[in-house]
């Protein structure tokens, strides 16, 4: 077992067969996806979201009625569509990385444009959802649940906006030839940031739209 782990760690990730990829973690302490700076950023962003989650829990403990009824007044389909869109965007980003690793920059750029497209769909759906809420009198000062809903989701929406900017930057780096199959740590960093945005929504969606 030890022999197998050592041999797997010594070869590039791309060369690991799927059977081995699905097994137990084969950590490489020296390998940091992207670069250390992006992980400082990711943990900073997650700390920021953590503050929102703590506020959510405290408000929920104090105003259980509002948190029982609040999700029923939100547009579940809009939240679900945005969840599907974000998951798909992360999937497209990984496909883009796989394509670039396989020395296919054209396919990589197409996958990454699909990621950006998902980001734009997310923003459009969120804008429509806010309008839908406003038309029904649901505003930031309606009650504590909706105040937290607006602050958390608006903050997340901003991250989708500038996360898309990071992916677009990576696309142009590929186009210019700066990123290729052997050198694309900037793309990995942008993709990891994008996955963090997806992860934050994986918590936000159930807390605000599903859990009662």
């Amino acid at each position: 077992m030890n022999t197998q782990t050592t041999s797997l760690a010594s070869i590039p990730l791309d060369d690991v067969p799927a059977e081995d990829n699905q097994s137990q973690p084969t950590f490489d302490p020296k390998r940091i996806p992207g670069n250390p700076a992006i992980w400082v950023g990711i943990f900073s962003e997650l700390s920021e979201f953590a503050i929102f989650f703590v506020i959510y829990f405290i408000a929920r403990a104090h105003y259980p009625e509002e948190f029982l009824n609040g999700p029923l007044e939100l547009h579940t389909t809009a939240g679900t569509v945005n969840t599907l869109v974000l998951i798909s965007s992360s999937y497209f980003a990984v496909k883009g990385i796989f394509a670039l690793r396989n020395n296919n920059p054209l396919a990589a750029m197409r996958w990454l444009w699909m990621t950006v497209g998902c980001g734009l769909i997310y923003l459009a759906v969120k804008y429509w959802e806010y309008q839908w809420n406003m038309d029904r009198g649901i505003e930031t000062n309606t009650n504590n649940f909706f105040a937290i809903y607006y602050y958390t989701t608006f903050n997340h929406m901003l991250h989708v906006g500038w996360g898309s900017g990071g992916i677009i930057w990576s696309i142009f780096q590929i186009k210019s030839g700066a990123f290729d199959a052997n050198n694309h740590t900037g793309l990995i960093a942008a993709a990891c940031y994008w996955h963090m945005i997806d992860l934050a929504w994986i918590l936000i969606f159930p807390l605000l739209y599903v859990l009662r």
Binding site: L13, D14, D15, V16, P17, A18, N21, Q22, P25, T26, F27, D28, P29, K30, R31, I32, P33, W39, F43, A50, F53, F57, I58, R60, A61, H62, L68, P71, T76, T77, G79, T80, T83, L84, I87, S88, S90, Y91, V94, K95, F98, A99, N102, N104, L106, A107, R110, A191, C192, H195, D198, L199, I202, L203, F205, P206, Y209, V210, L211, R212
Partner: protein, 112 residues
């Protein structure tokens, strides 16, 4: 379009079966999301539903962390920190759902 599909099939998927594994992960996450939506629309609040919701958060987060971010093959410090975050908050959600009073009492302004 056909060219792209063929290229992806031959160059993106064939050499490393992990692409197929990735496709399956995407389907699983789509399925979990749809189940979440069904719960939001149809299910009445209960302990089992809350447990299910928290469990689904953990599963989806693990899939993204392990495979999309490829942290399973990276630094264990980052891997465990990320995992801890996405175990901790669903656990707090469950505890606050089960018994909100201690947290409400702890954070009551009149205490200070």
């Amino acid at each position: 379009m056909n060219t792209e599909t063929n290229t992806n099939t031959s160059k993106d998927s064939q050499p490393y079966l992990s692409t197929k594994h990735l496709d399956r992960l995407w389907c699983v996450m789509i399925g979990i999301t749809l189940l979440n939506a069904f719960i939001a629309e149809k299910a009445e609040p209960s302990v089992m539903i809350t447990l299910l919701i928290c469990g689904m958060i953990v599963i989806k987060a693990r899939l993204v962390i392990d495979y999309f971010m490829e942290l399973k093959e990276a630094s264990p410090i980052i891997y465990y920190l990320m995992n801890a975050y996405f175990y901790l908050f669903p656990l707090i959600a469950l505890l606050v759902w089960l018994n909100p009073e201690p947290l409400a009492e702890l954070t009551r302004l009149s205490r200070f």
